[in-house]
């Protein structure tokens, strides 16, 4: 069915949104918190991609990062610690028509929710997952997280943390059915936006780890990288990042990386210095769980009745002399 041009224009007008249309509550994050940059990038993405606020859901767990949905003017689900992924999967399974994002932190995703994280990758549902990784627990006031570099002093590790940091990128890239992995940093907003956008456009489970500053608990964590652009490795490719010329002049440490090359992606991912920024891996061919095991078309009462009667028929005991033959048939 075609639509008259005028109606088309009216609808275009209706569906065009301003940034304010996505701005919810005033963020209560600390000043200088990297979460603010992520929020801005995501609101921009929603506007640019014309996401209808009522058909967009941000699901989060618990932690500073997980306040994110409150600051969006879309639907949101601020869940419980570590469980954002399965909640988001339920939303998506019930309503494939909704755009579903997940905001999670390094404690939420890589510690308490680690089991769900691994399986979220394997399910490969069409979700955009943003890992706000500040390498420390913020809301509970400075405890070491799984991604804290060894030696990180915190309230639970006053003499420095004991273990090597878990690398969320190599973990993700090691899981069956991985389909999109990228890394961004909060202090290069242009690339942050571009990376989040590419993640959104990927159909499947897109995992973006965003290194994010925590000025309150680990104020100096990323200083060396902020002061020396050479410590950041930009991953470029014709199917990958578009690096604006001005940025390219600052961040000269660049490498051409084909995001379909999983082995190379794993090598690059294991580098913590320089920090790789860009699309590490992208494979649009991995099937989505909701496509191979989804809720079918809308159910009608008649469909349910027929399904039910068919099952009843298999277990019905007809009165003797009644319809035994029918049951046998």
């Amino acid at each position: 069915m075609t639509m008259p041009v005028t109606q088309c224009l009216i609808r275009l007008h209706e569906e065009h949104h301003q940034l304010e249309d996505y701005q919810g509550g005033v963020p209560r994050w600390c000043s200088g918190c990297g979460d603010n940059a992520i929020l801005t990038a995501v609101q921009r993405l929603c506007r640019d991609e014309g996401l209808a606020p009522e058909r967009t859901v941000f699901v989060s767990g618990i932690g500073c990062s997980s306040r994110f949905p409150h600051y969006m003017k879309t639907y949101g689900f601020h869940g419980i610690h570590g469980r954002a992924f399965p909640i988001a999967q339920g939303v998506k399974m019930a309503r494939p028509d909704l755009a579903v994002f997940v905001n999670t932190g390094d404690g939420d995703c890589c510690s308490i929710g680690a089991a769900h994280w691994i399986h979220a990758i394997r399910y490969n549902m069409n979700l955009t997952a943003i890992l706000h990784d500040n390498q420390v627990y913020g809301l509970t006031k400075k405890q070491a997280s799984p991604t804290s570099p060894i030696g990180t002093k915190s309230n639970t590790t006053p003499r420095g943390s004991y273990l090597q940091a878990l690398n969320p990128l190599t973990v993700t890239l090691g899981v069956t059915n991985v389909s999109f992995v990228a890394q961004a940093v909060d202090w290069i907003p242009e690339l942050l936006y571009d990376i989040v956008r590419k993640a959104y456009l990927h159909r499947g489970f897109s995992f973006v780890r965003i290194l994010q500053r925590c000025p309150e608990w680990l104020p100096k964590q990323f200083e060396p990288w902020l002061h020396d652009p050479g410590k950041t490795l930009l991953l470029t490719h014709r199917d990958g990042l578009a690096v604006p010329p001005a940025l390219a002049r600052t961040y000269r440490n660049q490498v051409e990386h084909d995001p379909t090359d999983l082995d190379r992606a794993r090598e690059i991912a294991s580098s913590t210095d320089p920090i790789p920024v860009g699309i590490l891996y992208h494979n649009p061919a991995v099937p989505c769980y909701e496509d191979v095991h989804g809720v079918g078309e809308v159910r009608t009462a008649e469909q349910v009745r027929r399904g039910l009667e068919a099952e009843f028929d298999k277990v019905t005991v007809w009165p003797q002399g009644g319809d035994g033959a029918r049951a046998a048939a």
């Binding site: 939303v91 019930a94 009165p319």
Partner: protein, 631 residues
């Protein structure tokens, strides 16, 4: 009476002993088809018009060693002249494929003194002398103990008809039993055809041949016949176990997402759903763990389609935080707990009613939810429809408690007639008026209409944090209490719609027994037996445990004494340290005592077996004696 099969005597026509009921067991090693035999016998009895209750006998291991006492696998069928509501007392007649599995049942005290035993006789000629010795000694001992042992050459007789008699003897036994219980042979053959209906005609013919041979053998060699009068069924009935009934109920309720994680004894409900759900547009999501299963269901419910998660005790414990979230955010959710023995891993395949308090009070903070329990197989079906409707009407969590005994028990019930009202309405996608808030709690009922993703103008973020009517995180003292108050009011609003449960027996008297869940049939049978003796005993069965219907306190107060009978633990007063100050009452007794200020006593069993009516009768006699009522 002649108690051996070595001197066969043809039973004269019309010699069948009339019985009100009989309990039959067929037991074997795993994989010998005893359950199929018993299920077919149950169906034949049901079609004849008898009441039946079948209980599976399941070994704890998947492949227990052959001929082992612990490996008994089989089925127990209670056949009655009237409707049968529970598994009953000890077994009257047992067919055993070897003496070891039989010994397991004898040692467990499951056989009536003097019970008839039909025992496969091939072991008498086994090449291993140890087996022969074990067999002959067992037969002698059993006979000495008064059991009437009939040796039956099952495999020998079947070998004439099939190449692998181990596979075929179950239908031979079906023929034997149909003859013993005077069931119509034609009906039996028809049932064999139904049982093997999916297979090719040759398979049906072979099995009908085995059935006929068994029937003829029994007619020739067994000198006893029984007849249990039947009233012909006039309506079609469905015969399924409790877990299948739950799954059919999920289908009928219009829920289309079931998120689960494998756990005994709940999983078979999901097996059934996995098989049939997709045909009508539903799915079973096997999550990575119980927590994820609950969270997935909550996500789906949040998005507009009330979902169900089905589990058992340990899984239920893991879901508690998620259940609290659904309560707090007011998201409808149905949680089924097919209870098993606890605590911890407990007794996975055994029955217990140990999760009532955790269902009502579980999850931290004040998390009011609805808790209901299924009393029989039919209840398992309709409870799912009711649960979904309550969950959506009150935007809350509904916990449905079933248990391991209902999970595998079969009892026919009238084939349900589909009603489109069982289904959920379509997901509301209409715009939300500008002045509306996501938690516009009604002052009286506490109910607020949810806004679903997709509804323009309804955008908000639900949260497990304390929140105001706009769903904004709020720490104000008043707002916190406002939320608590409205969530609690919803339970009261539901309570106002509940009918007072009917009293079984007279409305007043000496003793009232109160129960919930799968013990209903057992309690009512025990109470019925005592009432037949003229004793003033009645019983009350609760479907809703949270909230409880109005009028229950009045009922309790009309009796001299009230006793909760449950399948869970309660301290025994004859233990030296137990006294009135430290005694831990059973779950329901505790609930009733605190709510109604009635001195409710309790009698409980947690032996992992369904409670027998005779045990309840004995317990009730004890209470009546304590009241100085001659019992």
């Amino acid at each position: 009476m002649n108690d051996t099969a070595t001197l066969p005597r043809r039973a004269a026509a019309g010699e069948a002993t009339l019985l009100d009921e009989h309990i039959v067991e067929v037991i074997s090693d795993s994989g010998e088809g005893a359950q199929r035999c018993g299920q077919s016998l149950g169906a034949i009895a049901a079609r004849t018009g008898n009441g039946i209750w079948t209980t599976e006998i399941i070994p704890a291991e998947i492949q227990p060693p052959a001929r082992s006492v612990a490996g008994a696998s089989g089925i127990r069928i209670r056949i009655g002249a009237k409707r049968v509501t529970n598994g009953g007392d000890e077994t009257d007649l047992v067919v055993a494929f070897n003496e070891q599995v039989l010994l397991g049942r004898v040692r467990a005290g499951e056989l009536k003194p003097g019970a008839q035993i039909l025992l496969e006789s091939m072991w008498r000629e086994h090449r291993d002398p140890a087996v022969v010795r074990s067999y002959t000694e067992t037969v002698e001992r059993l006979r000495a103990s008064g059991f009437r042992v009939h040796e039956v050459p099952l495999e020998k007789e079947c070998r004439a008809l099939v190449a692998d008699p181990r596979k075929g003897k179950n239908m031979f036994v079906l023929g034997v039993l149909c003859c013993v219980y005077s069931f119509d042979a034609g009906l039996g053959r028809e049932q064999v055809a139904l049982t093997f209906g999916k297979k090719e005609g040759k398979v049906v013919a072979v099995n009908q041949g085995l059935f006929d041979a068994g029937y003829a053998w029994a007619a020739q060699h067994l000198d006893f016949r029984y007849r249990i009068p039947a009233v012909r069924a006039t309506v079609p009935q469905i015969v399924v176990n409790g877990n299948t009934a739950l799954a059919l109920g999920v289908l009928a309720s219009g829920m289309d997402i079931c998120a689960m994680y494998p756990i005994t004894p709940a999983t078979s409900a999901s097996h059934f759903l996995s098989d049939v759900f997709e045909k009508v547009g539903g799915i079973v999501h096997q999550a990575e763990d119980e927590i994820a299963a609950c969270a997935f269901a909550i996500g789906a419910s949040y998005a507009g389609k009330c979902a169900v998660t089905i589990t058992s005790g340990p899984g239920y414990s893991l879901k508690q935080e998620g259940i609290g979230l659904a309560v707090m955010a007011e998201i409808p959710l149905v949680v089924v707990n097919v209870q098993r023995g606890g605590p911890s891993t407990g007794q996975p395949t055994k029955v217990e009613q140990g999760d009532l308090l955790t269902a009502i009070y579980g999850s931290h903070g004040d998390a009011p939810k609805v808790v209901m329990a299924t009393a029989d197989i039919e209840d398992c079906f309709y409870a799912m429809i009711t649960a979904r409707r309550i969950a959506e009407a009150f935007n809350t969590v509904v916990v449905v408690l079933s248990d391991a005994s209902l999970a595998t028990a079969q009892q026919p019930f009238p084939r349900p007639v589909f009603d489109a009202q069982w289904l959920a309405p379509p997901v509301d996608q209409t715009p939300v008026p500008a002045d509306r808030k996501p938690y516009d709690w009604d002052e009286v009922t506490g109910i607020a209409q949810r806004f679903l993703p997709g509804q323009p103008g309804g955008m908000h973020t639900v949260t497990g944090l304390a929140h105001d009517r706009a769903s904004k995180v709020a720490y104000d003292p008043e707002i916190n209490e406002e939320g608590l108050r409205h969530r609690s009011l919803k339970v009261a609003a539901l309570q106002k719609t509940l009918k007072t449960p009917p009293v079984f027996g007279d409305p007043d008297g000496d003793l009232l027994v109160v129960g919930w869940g799968s013990t209903k049939g057992v309690i009512e049978e025990a109470v019925g037996r005592l009432r037949d003796e003229g004793l003033k005993v009645s019983s009350l069965h609760l479907t809703f445990l949270q909230p409880m219907a109005s009028g229950i306190g009045d009922i309790l107060r009309r009796f001299r004494s009230v006793l909760a009978v449950e399948g869970n633990w309660s301290d025994r007063l004859d233990d030296e340290l137990i006294d009135a100050d430290n005694r831990r009452y059973s779950a329901l007794a505790m609930m009733l005592r605190s709510r109604y200020l009635v001195d409710v006593d309790c009698w409980t069993q947690s032996r992992g077996q369904p409670i027998k009516p005779s045990s309840v009768v004995a317990a009730l006699r004890g209470r009546l004696a304590a009241l100085s009522v001659p019992a």
